[in-house]
């Protein structure tokens, strides 16, 4: 598929992004650049100066809600992308309402228990729709540990091992690799759906 064909497919797609931190902000920008028509982003947090080591924000945006700052940044890249931003804490009770129109959901939370909550909730409310999770992004180096796995409609990107800690901080390069792996997985799924009639997707 050439770039024009890819854009023709992706412009009618909606991708949800739960969390606008290191994974979510970078994945959202990548998806906007390749022409995904609509992004639904949600995050309750505001930009902190310590986020700038990895998250797609700028110095003047410190203090702004991340979801709105991300919408502004995507608007400066491609104003044709429709970004719906929800400044809200995602809980199991509001996930269906916010993301029910999405073709795919990207899990971009920080805390492992939140990741688990989202995966469990999604498997109940939208078991037929893919969810792409990020797990294991901390530190630097170890390129070959970063991997991708698929089980049913759950896709996991990351090394599934390195946990963020004082001595193992999240840094732009490795967080960016995993965020882009999530974005890459999302468009791969959507472009394959186009090639194969809906309902006949091989497992």
């Amino acid at each position: 598929m050439n770039d024009r064909h890819i854009r023709q497919v992706l412009q009618y797609k909606t991708i949800g992004i739960a969390g606008c931190g290191g994974l979510g902000s970078n994945a959202a920008v990548a998806l906007a650049r390749v022409g995904v028509g609509k992004l639904i982003v949600a995050d309750h947090d505001t930009v902190d100066i310590t986020n700038l080591n990895r998250q797609y924000f700028f110095l003047h945006q410190v203090g702004q809600p991340k979801c709105f700052a991300l919408r502004d940044n995507i608007g400066m890249i491609d104003p044709a992308v429709n970004v719906v931003a929800h400044h809200i804490k995602l809980i199991s009770e509001n996930i269906a309402m916010i993301f029910n129109r999405c073709d795919i959901l990207i899990e971009a939370f920080d805390a492992a228990d939140q990741k688990n909550m989202l995966i469990e909730t999604w498997s109940e409310i939208a078991p037929e729709k893919p969810i792409i999770s990020g797990s294991g992004i901390a530190g630097y180096g170890n390129n070959n540990m970063i991997a991708y796995s698929k089980s049913g409609n759950l896709y996991v990107c990351g090394d599934q091992h390195t946990e963020v800690s004082e001595d193992n901080p999240p840094l732009a390069p490795r967080v960016g690799i995993v965020a882009h792996m999530q974005a890459n997985t999302a468009i791969d799924i959507l472009l394959q759906q186009k090639r194969i009639p809906y309902g006949n997707n091989p497992e």
Partner: protein, 67 residues
Amino acid sequence: MEITLNNRQECFDNEKITVSELLTLKNFTFKLLVVKINGKLIKRDQYNSATIKNGDDVSVIHLVSGG
């Protein structure tokens, strides 16, 4: 029985085992795991009751903080 665990073949003497038994046998010690049997999510409160049989395709995914 023989199962697929994270895309690898594994043999067990038992005819069936629970998810809890599998996690102990294979030393999965991470705090947060996602377990799927044949693509279906098994919640934490089902680990003692959900059983794995011959031929099942099992995924055990580690969830670690960071994002």
